[in-house]
Amino acid sequence: MARIQSQLSMKQLFWITFAVVLAVLPQLYRLPIWFLPMALMVISYRFYAQINHIKKAWNTLLMFLALLVLVLIIFSQGLTLSREISVTILISMAVLKLLETYTMRDALLVVMLCYFVTMTRFLYSQDLLLIFYLLGSAFITTHALSVLNYEKSARWFDRQQIKSTAASLSLAVPFAILFFLVFPRLGSPIWGSPDFFGEGKTGISDTMSPGSIIELFMDDSPAFRVTFDDGVVPPNAQLYWRGPVLWHFDGRTWSRQKHNSLRQTMRQYGDAETIAYQIEQENTGQNYMFSLDYVTDSAGKGFLLPDSTLYSMTTINQLRHYELKSVLLERFYQDLSDHNRRLLLTYPANQNQRTLALIRQWQAEDPNPLAVVNRALQKFNQEDFYYSFTPPPLEGEVIDEFLFESRRGFCEHYASTFTIMMRMAGIPARVVTGYQGGIDNGEYLLVKQSDAHAWSEVYIEPAQGSGYWMRIDPTSMVAPERVESGSQNIMTEKRHWIDFEWLRDTKESLDKYRYQWNQWVRDFNVSKQEALFKAIGFEYRDGKTLALLMMAILLFTALLTLIPMWWLKRQRHHTLQRLYLQLVRTIKHNPALYDQHRKGIEHLTAEIIKTYPESEPRMQHFLALYLQARYSKQAPKKQQLLQHLQKTLNQIKPILQASKAP
């Protein structure tokens, strides 16, 4: 009881504060702007108070502070049940808790909070590099716990103690692995689901406006990884990873068509060669899957939208694997309904008149749709158009402005302009977004967010025969290298201030480890777990069996730890100490006397004699022998002495217990 109330030393305070700072740091980027100054103020005040021995502030004031921070959180993040706000509250309160952490009791609470805060970072990412950081953070937290419980020396960084912390943590590793393998898994973790709270959409989305793909271009994080079954990666120019198809243009932003039908991927395309490949897609919080045109088989993992995009019935909230078969077609024959044709010919009326005039002029020269397509591509190719990720902003009539004035743009500008030009010429056209290219690192093809791309698709209806879709990438007319070697390699300027080539290379080579990590850890899902259990000959049907197994393992683990601890505890008291404890137990019925036993046998003996004067001669005798046996330099005939001590103690016991009655 006394220990839990004991005051914290400077060293202990330092370690718990260090643990809090480390736990909070990786989440700082998404906390409200006032958080950092508040945390700095709290920490510096707490240390100021420690140095100057200022007593704990009034509880009312602390309560008021906590409420104030709560109001601030609601003010800056809104009053909704979201993961965001819950984590922010947890972190803020952990930091504020430092203000009232003066005793061991509160310090232990803070340490537990630290473990919890560290865990919450996993809700946002389970990346490999992050694991290392969070392990470090957990290590420091554990060390803080160790310093709270026992200070081996007064040194602030005690190498011995850090070693012992490492030893205790490494003891936990086998259990962590065991629990990782056998803990029952949910098919889709509700706590980790960005969709549950409606947050966390990343990657290509189903709208596009000037600048939205440039934003992705800045991001080097992986979008998905592809392994080709036959090990042969098709040439870069063929790697168009189809994502959301955009139909509607409001003069600035493109958006998708809401479809009400999905179809199975079961089609034959004559003798076209089939490519089989597997995709490991990072979570996007959306339903789009990425594939090469055109998918013939998705092994039941996805369905096709009418515009040939692969779509998942469930939101992709965690790493997802799927196997696909595709054929690379130049022409995709498909019927187009009148309703859809009308939609795909729509463009904002009474806008972009200069472009419209130009198209009309081309049509007058040669009405053949293919000829118009070529004229447009030639224009991009031969006139002064530039591929740039820092284009001048466009206002007003976007198409006219881009085509005749700014002439600098990224893929989204070209795809958008080209598609509208086609629609003006009466050719049904739409924008396809997705990724283009990828980096082949030997094991797999890595497609990053920065490979995001947008291109066009036009529907050609020849005079005789049926109509077909054809992919046109206007960007390739401006910058053919983009399609051949990827967008980053053709840019000479930096994308942002920390954009260095070596850093990109490092990130790419790190991705190999990340891939392994994904394979072995992140992707260890229900089915893999089932397979593992099957492999060791344990088949389970439901969660109940698994829960029972868990219980058994927990019980076993507990026994495994407790038995040696109990045994060690017995060993720690040697025979003489046990004798003393025997004496202590005989006076257990007298709590006032019993409490004195911590002060040592000499003190206790004096107290016992005071309470039970009749025991004096034997007690004195016992004490003298005991001290002799335990503390003197050469205890003679130890065994005999011990026997004699035990005998004396046995004679004392009835005296002390007889007096119990009155």
Partner: protein, 318 residues
Amino acid sequence: MPNKPVQPASQVATQHEAHTLESIIAAVGQKILDKEGAIKTVIASLIAGGHVLLEDLPGLGKTTLATAVSQVFGMDFKRIQLTSDMMPSDVLGVSIYDAKSQTFSYHKGPIFTQFLLADELNRATPKTQSALLEAMAESQVSMDGQTHRLDPVFFVMATQNPIDEAGTYALPQSQLDRFLVSLSLGYPDQNNERQLYSADYLSRFDEPIAALSSPTQLLQWREQCRQVHASDEVLDYLQLLIHKTRNHSEIHQGLSPRAGLSLFRLAQSFAFMDRRDFITPADLQQAFFPVCRHRLVTHDGRLAAELIHNILDDTPVI
């Protein structure tokens, strides 16, 4: 079967010596009533070879205690009353030119004695204080390139008046550390105070106490006292106590290793006085307070008496 008691084995202080020690304490107790603990601490400190700092109000028996102890051990006794105009030479002695022999001859100061009572130490200027304390630490006086050894049993009992602080120079922590123990006698309790005024007590008050021991025996005891054994368990406990003073949030500065050694020596001395040749935790407990009393202060400079007791209570011996 008759229960034949096993006699504790070796005993350094023989029956005779123990008898002497007990009668010494009793004899001093005749003069200073009801202060057996303080008397024991002073004598233990004398046997351990350390100096004593007494902090008390005037009239509580500091001088009586000093004279009684010096008499019972048959020691030379000198007393210096320290004042702010005292010079180091007033304590240590001075070299004077002798015209006849045309040499300097050294005239020894009051420090060359066996038992020195330095009254009101904090009234002296720092210069004089440090001269005295340096001599105490080194058991010698160096003057004009000559070294004069102090008496081998040299013992100082310094007094301080804690209340009347005007015109005093408080001893710095480093100087306080030179005293093995510090203690305060305090007021006697009612019954004992009554006895003070009894004819019986007053009649024997002015009589000197007969010497029961001698400086030579004291030196022997000092030697024997150093042989008192401390087991590993006792050293663990000692270290734990010291460690707790260093990590206590309310204590300004914990015990230094020198203070730790003082604690050890005093505990040895207590064990010796209790006729044992080994230290027990109780010896350390007994020695802990007087050793810490002047060494541990709170952050605002107050005496940490309560905290010292708390540390003892919080450190279990099992």
